[in-house]
Structures are given as C-alpha cells and as structure tokens.
Subunit: 228 residues, 2 copies
DNA sequence: TCAAACCAAATTGTATACAATTTTCTATTT
DNA sequence: AAATAGAAAATTGTATACAATTTGGTTTGA
C-alpha cells in the first residue's frame, strides 16, 4: 500500500499523492525536513517534479515552505489547530445540515450500511478498521450534501487534521462514544432534521466546544508557539 | 497599480501576486489561455518560475491546469458557483458570529469607521471606491473573528469569486442596499448579537440587496460555461 | 575556553536543454 | 470539396546546469 521505496514513479502528481499519503498517515511526522535532492533520488526523478509536488502539498497546507530555507511537513501550532477545528466543526455541520435536507433514500441506506460496518470495528476495538469506516461514514455525508465544493473543502481540511485526529482517537479510546454519536447523526439525517444533524455533527468534530475554544482563540499570537 | 507590462519581476511569488491581481480584477477574463512561454517573456523570466506561479494559482482555484494541455484562467460553472456561494454564506456568517462574540471595543470602532467611509462612496455612486471600502469592511470582520485560518479561507473564497462579484456590484441600487445591510451588520456586531450577525452576513453574501437569480441573470454567458 | 569572523559545503531558486505529447497545417484520397 | 492521414510546429513535462543564499565548521583572536 505504501510507497516508501517505490522506484518507477514517473509523474509529479503521483509523487504528490505518495507524499500526501505518507503525511496523512503519519509516516512522515510533522516537522520532518523534506529535502528536494533526497526525495528526488528516493523516487528516481529529478528535482523539478519534486518541487512541483512540494508546492502542491504546500498549497493544501500539508507542507510548509520557507523561502530559501527548504520544506518541512507542516506542524500545526496549538492556536492554529484550534482554529481549524473550529472551522471544521462548522463545515461538517453544514454538510450534515444539507445532507439531511438533500439526501435521497438510497443515500440514507448507504449511510446506514457504513454505520453498521463501523459497529463491528467498534466492538472489537479495531482502531485502524474503525478509522477507515469512520472516513466512509463522513465521506458519505459529504457527498450527501450535494455540494461538491463544500465536500472538497471539508475533505481537504479533514485530511490536513488527520495526523492529529488519529492520535486523538487512539489516545482517548473514543471508539464506542464516536459510534454512539454516529447513531444519533444517522437518525437525525434520516429524519430530515437539519438543525439537529448540523448540531450533532458540529459537536462530533469539536474537541471541546465552547469556552475553551474561545479562550485559545482570543490569546495573542505571540503567547502561543506557533510555527518556528 | 497594475503590472501589465512590468519588466523586472524577479521572484516567483511576486509573479503569482501579479497574475492573481490581474485575474481577481478581471483584467484576465475567465477562460483566457495562459501560455507559459508567453508569460515568461512578458515578465522577463524563464518558464520555471512561471510554472511555479501557475501551480500556486491552480491550488487556490484561480487557474485550471489540464495535464499536457496548458493552463487557463478558471471559469466557474453555474453549479459550482452556486455551491461556492452557499459555502461563502456559511463562512461569512461564521466570521460575523465570532466577530460579534470576540471583537473588542477598538475593533468595533474601526469597523464603524470603515462603514462611514463607505457611506460617501455609496452616496456619490462611486462603484470602484465602494468596492474597496466594502473589502475593508469585510476584512475587518474577518480579523474580528480572531480565527486566522477562518479569515484566510474566507478571504480566499472571496477572491476566487471576486471577478463575478465585481459585475454584481455594478448593478444599480446595489450600493445603497449593500450599505444599508452593512449598517445592520455593524449594529448586530456592536450589540454582540451573534445569531443576528451570522444571519445578516449570510444573507448579505447570498442575496445582497437582490435575488441570487438576478445576479446569475446578469452574468455574461461566456462566464457561466461549464468546464469542458 | 569562548566568541566572532570567514571559508566551504550544501541546498534552494532560476535558466536552459531535451523529451514527449498535443495541436495545426498540408497533402492526398475519395 | 470534404475528410482523413501524416508531418511539422508548438507547447508542456522533465532533466540538467548554473547562480545565489543559507548552513556548518574551522580558524583566529582575545
């Protein structure tokens, strides 16, 4: 599945996807230096497509490029992370609201199927399995919003937060809790209850909603070590 | 102010900003072909930084790059435009909600100042002047949200829609209507009425003193084509 | 011993050269 | 005359070469 020592990767877009995968899955930890020549030889290409891939990853936000000082896997500071979660909550909520409004029977059935698949992973405490099923469940809601742009944006932000969310899921043993929330979300969407679907999905994503987020967000930038 | 025939632009980032400006202001209409060699000679650089700039613009969404088939100024299809406005409404609303919650007195005072500046432009029907003042007003709200990431995302989407919004503002009576709405928004924010600020800003973006369908109707047909 | 300055190595940014693919024009055939 | 096939031109994607800046180490001085 991975592309650690893959050799014959010709295209720059392929290279980008390979790197993106390594970053999202955490194989390339935040802060890791990405040296152009090293990546070039490792993938068997020249620096040109490497630079292109790095630029594209930088535009997504997965890589940080400081002029004349090289590229590193983007490390998200505390303040920025809270900000991103705050936006993520709103976008996920919006997806849920629109999905509750616009999903057809077929979509709802599919969502229910994904939910059932997740159940077994939750029961067996299979974190990796649940992670994938979780992705499918949310992806289904994205598509259900019938707004491709919104789906793309939400998915991009989710991917960017993925390395940290993965930690969160492992750390907190949130599987059963997450699954229960999914059940409520599924019901709200099937009931067509827009407001409830929005609220539930918002809270589902938010780390700790309310006062703590507000507190972090109002802190001056200098007080929180962001990115070096 | 423009950089139509600028000569000594050395850096790729500068080049990107120049092109972005030309696209956002409409000097480069959607659909325009962006030939690498042409831009290179026009800006007095080689193809390498041009490609880099085009990639960056593509990542923002202002340019569309089809493999082996060149780059064009992104033309947004009708469906996608509606989707983007739907998201824009949510993001602007969120900015307003957070601004109402988190702005300090100084911020509110500044917002009021920008509003007053816009008044004169609205009265004299100075469309370009009002456009700039409008940008300042909204930018002030973005910053007032105390969420840099949200501000960046909202600003990016606004810029991407800018070529189309500019046409929208040219319509008669749009100015005074927009200004009146700004007044209500200002009051809601100063009152700390989060829900109202959110709702007003959402609607301000969506309908903006008129119906969305009116806006669509005023667009030149070339701009609405769905992408090939 | 520590610090500052300078030189060397490494790395990034840009230019040019080459390869591969697309586009366009021409010529031939029906 | 229209259409299709083929070749030439143009354009994009990649590799390499060069320039400029940063980084790291070494040396010299107090």
């Amino acid at each position: 599945m991975s592309s650690k020592s893959a050799s014959a990767l010709k295209r720059a877009s392929t290279l980008k996807e390979a790197l993106e995968q390594d970053i999202v899955t955490g194989q390339l930890a935040p802060g890791t230096r990405l040296e152009e020549m090293g990546l070039a030889t490792r993938f068997g290409v020249s620096r040109t497509p490497v630079r292109e891939a790095l630029n594209q990853l930088a535009s997504i936000g997965l890589v940080q490029i400081r002029p004349r000082r090289g590229a590193v896997v983007a490390a998200i500071g505390l303040k920025e992370m809270m900000e991103m979660f705050e936006v993520m909550a709103e976008l996920e909520g919006m997806c849920g609201q629109l999905a509750a409004r616009r999903m057809i029977g077929e979509d709802r059935a599919k969502l229910a199927v994904y939910h059932e698949q997740a159940r077994s992973f939750a029961q067996t405490e299979d974190h990796n399995g649940y992670y994938d099923a979780n992705v499918c469940f949310h992806e289904c809601i994205y598509l259900g919003s019938r707004n491709t742009y919104l789906a793309d944006q939400t998915r991009a932000l989710r991917n960017r937060l993925a390395p940290y969310r993965r930690l969160q899921l492992l750390q907190r043993q949130r599987l059963s809790g997450s699954f229960a929330e999914h059940g409520q979300i599924l019901k709200a969407i099937c009931d067509g209850d827009e407001a409830r679907a929005k609220k539930l999905l918002s809270e589902h994503v938010t780390v700790q909603s309310g006062s703590f987020t507000d507190f972090i967000a109002t802190l001056p930038t200098e007080l929180i070590q962001s990115r070096a």
